[in-house]
């Protein structure tokens, strides 16, 4: 599932460039942008900026110079072959989760190289500078801005898989976390009421009842902070998410941060970085006695 999540994240994040306003508003499970758009969005951006910068004419002349000097261009000469290659790469990566990230990365690197080249060509085309023959007629006023726009866009795209690969490895869906939190609270409440157990102790037992790897994943993703009120066996538990993609990618996703108490109130807010849930956050779930009993009986089966 990690790979799928990575792909989905990459797709939605990269789609931001071209989709900031295009998605339909509220709808009943409406259509939404898809991964493929992310994969190919960098290509039209690169083509458009290369056209605006006048880069294709330079590329053509540059390739001719390379061929005349006996060197082979890095990519196939025929533009048709390049386009065909890109399409084949896209189609190969669609059915399999992993390669889509690598293909996205590859396209990002190609776009970055193009952006740097355009800036370099622009600098070498300044009036008064000695320019190579393939830069005859090149316009620095078009080349440099186009290159400067393309570079950050490409860098952003390259950063997406880097930011999300580690993050997604142990990613837990919010629904899984919600369920674990609910079970944990039920268990905590039952034991603190019935067994006069210390919170740390009941968490340990909870871990044994649950599948251990699920609790480990929860602990890897969340800082679980217990605050026991002592004699009255009241308690609060902060579950604060600790794993986020690095800046600025953390602002495109968010994780739930929880605060739960002995009354069975589960409060939650979505956060972009490690932030404890405030005590006035809305109650998103309230566990009644019946529900606690149900959860416990399921766990003990």
């Amino acid at each position: 599932m990690g790979g799928g999540v990575t792909v989905a994240r990459i797709s939605f994040l990269t789609s931001i460039f071209v989709l900031s306003l295009s998605e339909s508003a509220l709808a009943n499970v409406p259509p939404s942008p898809q991964s493929l758009l992310a994969l190919i969005s960098i290509l039209p951006i690169m083509i458009l900026l290369t056209l605006l910068g006048g880069g294709y004419a330079i590329l053509k002349r540059h390739n001719q110079v390379l061929i005349q000097s006996g060197k082979k261009p890095f990519l196939p000469r025929s533009r048709l072959l390049k386009i065909g290659g890109a399409i084949i790469l896209i189609f190969i990566s669609i059915p399999v989760d992993g390669p889509i990230a690598l293909v996205g990365l590859l396209f990002g690197i190609v776009a970055l190289v193009r952006g740097i080249k355009m800036v370099r060509w622009g600098v070498h085309s300044f009036p008064g500078r000695e320019r190579p023959p393939y830069l005859e007629g090149a316009n620095p006023v078009r080349l440099i801005p186009a290159g400067f726009i393309l570079i950050p866009v490409a860098l952003f795209l390259i950063g997406v898989p880097v930011a999300y690969v580690g993050y997604s490895t142990f990613y837990m869906s919010n629904a899984t976390v919600d369920k674990l939190v609910k079970d944990l609270v039920a268990y905590q409440i039952a034991h603190s009421r019935l067994n006069k157990m210390e919170p740390e102790e009941s968490i340990y037992i909870f871990g044994r009842k649950q599948k251990t790897w699920e609790l480990r994943r929860l602990q890897w993703n969340y800082e679980i902070e217990l605050d026991s009120a002592g004699q009255d066996r009241g308690f609060k538990i902060h579950l604060t998410p600790t794993r986020f993609p690095f800046f600025p990618y953390n602002y495109f996703t968010s994780r739930p941060s929880y605060l739960v108490d002995h009354a069975g109130d589960i409060r939650m807010v979505y956060v972009h970085r490690k932030t404890p849930c405030p005590s006035d956050a809305p109650v998103v779930m309230r566990l009644g006695n019946d529900e606690i009993q149900q959860i416990l009986s399921k766990m003990h089966q």
Partner: protein, 189 residues
């Protein structure tokens, strides 16, 4: 004259409305919405039937917008799974303030997806958003909407409900392009 880049841009412009979700690739034909109404929360189980009308495989992205306001906090335990043709869980991610998932369809394939969430309510009322079936650009062929009362009694509904022998309250619609959302209230018994 450079034709390649322009052809590429043209192809992208053609594909963009479909890839971006502006124009859906698959058709949304049917839905069955079951809402379990508890004293302080609702549990929504929606089954949605989509069909790929094309003779080749396609991928469609989906988002799950949820009715959130100051009286209705964010739903939790949001999950989605394919019920047919083959049951499997769908990875649902929360990104850009929405839950989203993606699904591949075979040629002419019909797929039934189940979406589940739970929402706490402060007042004894809840919403289910119906009006925005519009992005699908076609009316629903058939829709069934049920309220299952769990220790409550439904007091009002913006759509007329009929009692069902199962004890649920129900309404059906055919060729349905909703003009209003479904709002209902209840009291604890």
């Amino acid at each position: 004259m450079l034709l390649g880049p322009y052809i590429c841009l043209l192809c992208f412009a053609f594909a963009f409305p479909f890839l971006s979700g502006l124009y859906p690739i698959v058709r949304f034909n049917e839905e069955q919405i079951d809402i379990h109404v508890h004293p302080d929360h609702v549990r929504v189980e929606g089954q949605y039937v989509y069909k790929n009308p094309l003779p080749f495989p396609v991928v469609q992205g989906f988002s799950i917008p949820l009715p959130v306001d100051q009286h209705h906090p964010r739903p939790v335990m949001v999950s989605a799974k394919v019920l047919s043709p083959k049951e499997k869980l769908l990875p649902v991610i929360y990104i850009l303030e929405k839950y989203r998932f993606e699904m591949a369809f075979r040629a002419n394939e019909e797929v039934c997806v189940k979406v589940h969430y739970r929402q706490q309510t402060r007042a004894h009322d809840a919403y289910y958003i119906l009006t925005t079936t519009k992005p699908w650009r076609r009316p629903l062929i058939h829709g069934t909407y049920r309220l299952i009362q769990r220790g409550v009694q439904v007091r009002s509904s913006s759509y007329a409900l009929q009692p069902h022998r199962s004890g649920a309250l129900i309404f059906h619609k055919t060729n349905f392009m909703p003009e209003k959302d479904w709002h209902f209230t209840w009291e604890v018994v």
